[in-house]
């Protein structure tokens, strides 16, 4: 079990608080869905959780260790996929190289990641030649290739067609089933229902609601979340 702790985490920019203060502990397995409107703080939450952004105040800990020191034990899928100017294979080799994994071991892990992310592309092809949906799956494969304990995904299905989205969700459910913790942000309510075992709801940089299971949809507590689910926010 991996425990994520946000302890009084705040982020300020130009003397204005744009996030927090947030204190919460996630100690579940399965898929945590981070919900909220555009600009609610979902991406900031994920960036802070992974240690890509440093909090202005407070600390983010994974099993008691600061997030910035444990980045290599997690995978991250970006809202806009960064594509390295290399082959598909070369893109997937980067996280492995960062952990000193090369050669035959790297090769077999890359094949496995391509299958898990359902990306059926020639590994020797330049990654830039992939379609938008394929790039997203490349990003997923890159996030899981080093067998992380946790993967975080920032609105991964924002630009996917329904069939690609279904395949992407199936990959996520399978990855979670194998014991990898998933934290994913979305503003797609049906998708949240399909994937989530735990829900965080953000509004205006504040964590308004945390709940286990489908309780979030049945017994919504906060005004903001109720309005969001009704389509008013």
């Amino acid at each position: 079990m991996t425990i994520l702790t946000f302890d009084k985490v705040e982020l300020t920019a130009n003397n204005t608080r744009i996030f927090g203060p947030v204190s919460t502990t996630l100690d579940t397995k399965g898929i945590t869905v981070v919900m909220g409107a555009n600009g609610a703080g979902k991406s900031l939450f994920l960036a802070l959780a992974h240690g890509l952004t440093q909090p202005s105040r407070g600390v983010v800990l994974w099993d008691g260790i600061p997030a910035i020191e444990t980045r290599s034990s997690r995978g991250f899928v970006f809202q806009t996929t960064p594509v390295l100017r290399r082959s598909v294979y070369g893109n997937l080799a980067l996280p492995l190289a960062a952990r000193g994994i090369r050669g035959a071991e790297a090769k077999s892990r890359i094949s496995a990641a391509l299958i898990a992310a359902r990306l059926d592309a020639d590994p020797a092809k330049p990654a830039a030649a992939l379609s938008g949906g394929e790039r997203k799956r490349l990003d997923l494969a890159r996030a899981i290739v080093a067998s992380p304990r946790v993967i975080l995904l920032d609105e991964p299905s924002a630009n996917l067609d329904p069939a690609t989205m279904a395949a992407f969700e199936a990959s996520l459910l399978q990855i979670a089933e194998r014991g990898t913790k998933i934290i994913v942000s979305t503003h797609d309510i049906p998708q949240a229902r399909r994937l989530g075992t735990e829900f965080l709801f953000f509004s205006g940089g504040q964590l308004c609601e945390t709940s286990n299971g489908q309780d979030f949809f049945e017994r919504t507590q906060s005004d903001e979340a109720i309005r969001y689910l009704k389509g008013e926010l």
């Binding site: 992974h50 890509l52 980045r71 290599s72 991250f76 970006f78 960064p82 594509v83 390295l84 100017r85 290399r86 980067l94 996280p95 190289a97 960062a98 330049p126 990654a127 830039a128 030649a129 080093a146």
Partner: protein, 240 residues
């Protein structure tokens, strides 16, 4: 010299004879030119590529000064570099004991100093936009400084190769620095450009012209290579 009957055409014909006959003196001069300029470019790349990439990747105190210096040194007059190296290597100079003055090694050093800023600045230009695109991903996978440097240099490889070729072209075409530190000694330090200058002043135009043709040919080949490289590199570029 056939001064009476169409002298230009006759000179050109003689130059052509030298070229297709692989004239021994000509081959030696071209060979030395390529050796000196390629060695200088390799050394300049060894120094300029990692430094240029580092200047694009990391911020540290004094970085701005370094960038301005490197960019200004791109326009260094070759004779000034030649003079500086001459002073260093001359018998009374600090490195005089090495006995390098008027040897190909001295010419390599001078050309290396001349083109390192070019390779450095062009490498930095090539790495800068990549660093912006890759920054989050490199931090996300916790790539260390060494992997970051390697990744960015490799992925900017087409731009880096262009920097290399641009440096090589400049080294090959340069005359002032190699003339001063090499001395233009027949059979020892005579390269294409210094031979052209000397033979032209002696009125020995056919050899000068033959060498000039080779220089132009090499310049065209280098530019064709740069063109092909950037066309090939575009296959890897992401269009958003």
């Amino acid at each position: 010299m056939g001064q009476e009957t169409a002298p230009e055409m006759e000179t050109l014909a003689q130059a052509w004879q030298l070229l297709i006959g692989f004239d021994a003196a000509l081959v030696e001069i071209v060979g030395l030119s390529l050796y000196v300029s390629l060695s200088a470019t390799l050394l300049a790349a060894l120094l300029g590529v990692p430094l240029g990439a580092a200047l694009a990747i990391w911020t540290f105190p004094g970085r701005g000064v370094l960038v301005v210096l490197a960019t200004s040194f791109m326009a260094l007059p070759p004779v000034v570099v030649g003079l500086a190296v001459y002073l260093l290597l001359s018998r009374a100079g600090p490195l005089g004991d090495l006995g390098l003055l008027f040897t190909p090694s001295a010419m390599i050093i001078a050309q290396m100093l001349l083109i390192t800023p070019i390779v450095l600045a062009l490498t930095r230009e090539a790495v800068l936009p990549l660093k912006r695109d890759y920054d989050l991903l490199l931090r996300s996978v916790d790539a260390g400084p060494w992997l970051t440097l390697k990744t960015l240099i490799w992925d900017a490889r087409f731009g880096v190769a262009t920097a290399f070729l641009a440096g090589f072209g400049r080294a090959l075409a340069e005359v002032g620095a190699v003339l001063i530190v090499g001395g233009n000694i027949n059979g020892l330090t005579r390269v294409m450009t210094t031979t052209i200058a000397l033979e032209t002043s002696k009125g020995n135009l056919e050899l000068a012209l033959a060498l000039g043709l080779i220089l132009i040919l090499i310049a065209i080949l280098i530019n064709a290579a740069i063109h092909l490289l950037s066309a090939f590199g575009r296959r890897y570029e992401v269009t958003r």
